[in-house]
Symmetry: C2
Subunit: 404 residues, 2 copies
């Protein structure tokens, strides 16, 4: 029998032995099933169930190359970052992330709460499901994880040790390339532009020098601003949801970066859902998305301000003008980062099903152009997006441009 004292990539049978070896309540179990359920790009994910007791858990192991392409060779230590991030997020935002039962650095593996009674949010949004409590939950998650890992609240020496722990060169490099460079320069020739939109992309992204300047600013901001522990990949595929619960998963891209990166990713991925809703004329759904965009900005600002006043320990931050300036900058970053996510998911390597599954193709092309028009507005004028209402106006502008 395996002792799991040296790393190897497990198959389903190995995972059953692994769970029996590591988790007490599975040790004597006779009826264990194991199913690979991973659909992400970087990890192998198994659901292990004790069919007698009806318990189940998730085993997640890091492989040595990304599943999307062998071009991305990765160290398995990212599993440690993911688990450390989950633990910290669990402390700061309990109930909004899965529980961790075991972190195994040797096997680059962790065992965690099974959330499979919930649905991946992107899948639900593709079916036009709405989640009235999402804005409330996600702003709790954002405010608690972001503000409480910033120098506004944390002891500065403690924070610097956390910055050290979460330095994440390999996964940051993936974002630096796929989010901040290739969508605008196609420098590795890996972009995939849907046939029919080539000229539009050429003009709006590849030849747009004003845009390239703003993208360069955002890339350096992403690489150099250790504001908070960000999730780093907070799209709707990283969220499990139902009508009662919201659980954020997969923080393997976590590092200390700008808060706006997480908030912007949420906003952008809701905009994909909105564009899909428009394509299928799902009025009730798009109205819910608009309300959610509005509420996220509104609730974030309110909760963030309240928490700031309650928790700040920093002398110079006990200053209303500075607090206002700080929040304005978060929202400026949010807009820029949302614009980048919108652009890279349309023209880059890693697409979103909300858009790719739109048919007929004319409607997909139209939805893609809509998203890119919004992207450019956000990237070029990020300071002008301080409220959800301004996002909704940008969506309407883009719609009008598209209809002209």
């Amino acid at each position: 029998m395996q002792t799991f004292e040296q790393y190897f990539l497990m198959n389903s049978d190995d995972v059953i032995y692994y769970v029996k070896a590591k988790i007490d309540s599975y040790k004597e179990a006779q009826h264990i099933t194991c199913t690979e359920i991973g659909d992400g790009n970087l990890n192998y994910v198994y659901r292990v169930a004790n069919t007698e007791s009806n318990e189940s858990i998730i085993v997640k192991q890091a492989g040595t190359t990304a599943r999307i392409s062998d071009e991305f060779v990765l160290s398995t230590s990212r599993n440690k970052i993911e688990t450390e991030a989950l633990k910290l997020q669990h402390k700061l935002a309990p109930g909004l992330v899965p529980e961790i039962y075991l972190l195994d650095e040797i096997m680059s593996c962790c065992i965690m709460e099974d959330l499979s009674k919930l649905t991946i949010m992107r899948t639900a949004l593709i079916n036009f499901e709405t989640f009235p409590r999402f804005a409330e939950h996600i702003t709790d998650f954002l405010v608690n994880t972001l503000l409480c890992t910033s120098d506004v609240v944390l002891n500065h020496k403690e924070k610097k040790e956390l910055v050290r722990t979460f330095i994440n060169p390999e996964l940051c490099e993936i974002s630096e390339n796929l989010v901040f460079t290739e969508p605008f320069h196609n420098n590795f020739n890996r972009n995939e532009v849907t046939p029919g939109n080539e000229q539009f992309v050429q003009t709006l992204l590849y030849s747009n020098e004003e845009l390239h300047l703003e993208v360069a600013k955002l890339k350096f901001h992403f690489m150099n601003n250790t504001q908070s522990l960000v999730h780093g990949d907070l799209h709707t595929g990283s969220i499990f949801i139902d009508q009662n619960d919201t659980k954020v998963i997969d923080p393997e891209f976590a590092f200390f970066g700008p808060m706006g990166y997480d908030i912007g990713n949420i906003m952008a991925n809701l905009i994909f859902a909105w564009a899909r809703g428009r394509a299928f004329q799902q009025k009730e759904f798009t109205e819910w998305v608009e309300n959610t965009l509005f509420d996220i900005m509104d609730l974030f600002e309110k909760k963030f301000s309240t928490a700031w006043e309650e928790h700040t320990t920093e002398v110079v931050a006990k200053n209303a003008d500075f607090q206002k300036h700080y929040i304005q900058n978060i929202f400026k970053d949010t807009a820029g980062m949302a614009g980048l996510e919108l652009a890279r998911r349309i023209v880059g390597l890693a697409k979103v099903k909300d858009i790719t599954s739109i048919e007929p193709i004319e409607n997909r092309l139209k939805a893609e152009r809509l998203c890119l028009r919004v992207a450019v507005q956000l990237i070029l004028n990020p300071s002008e997006f301080q409220t959800g209402g301004q996002y909704i106006a940008a969506l309407q502008n883009a719609q009008q441009e598209e209809n002209q």
Copy 2:
């Protein structure tokens, strides 16, 4: 005989044994002298000479508390950061930092080139000596150490590993308190305002809310912007100089922070020399200082731009508009940081002899007010200091305000 296998704080005799044990050319030497020459705040520095061969070296050991006050308890690991910084600076700016012969992590000690044929720059400036090659040398040091450790030039993964190596919580905390907080809030009640200027300091610094907002922005920028490996304490007491050579020493405060912090410290400390020159009506000297302020800004911009075009490896940075934006921001940071250094050395715990040795007291008070007036201009309008000429105009404005 000591084996130096466990840390202890050495005295002069220990240091002689230490050098004989560690450096081959001293092993058999019969006539070795050892003198403590430290005048800094944090370390013990010995000059060890072989009086027969006329060779000499410097031994620098980190103590467990700062020499300025036992309130600052420090880990001795800062010696490692200092030596790693010196090594990297030596690679990037050869001839502008001392050579390192030995790094001993156990003893928190390093052995390096003896520069005592040179003079500490602050001492020379106090005697109104001028150094026509200083602007040329210091801009070489700044451009080579700052640009080449930034994401403009460095591979981003390699840079993140360096950021990790140079996380420096304890010494950054000293700066965060002494530079970015106490001069404006006197929150630890440790400021020392020269009697006669209390009301002036109250109005200009302690009650100035507009200033407090800008100081808060600068503090968060210092804590969160991992732009480059900065020296972190680049005042004229950290520079050995003569008519031919300039050597930057003591980078124990090194960490990844804003480039403008180093440049601003240089500018501010030259302004102290200028204020002293004015107090003693040393026209030739103050003119040299003004020319040097001008040349530093001018040469930095030229050399930085040339080096950028030559060395950048980053796709999005191959963009003239971004390069211009980047340099403008460096100079904006430079102005703010220079203003902070000017303020903290006048009202804070750690003063500069250029100013404290001005007599009679009326002239010292006047020089202090002059420096604080310049400080406030720099902190409130940092974007307006893009050239050396704008610094000189600010000095003249302050002089006029003082004379009214």
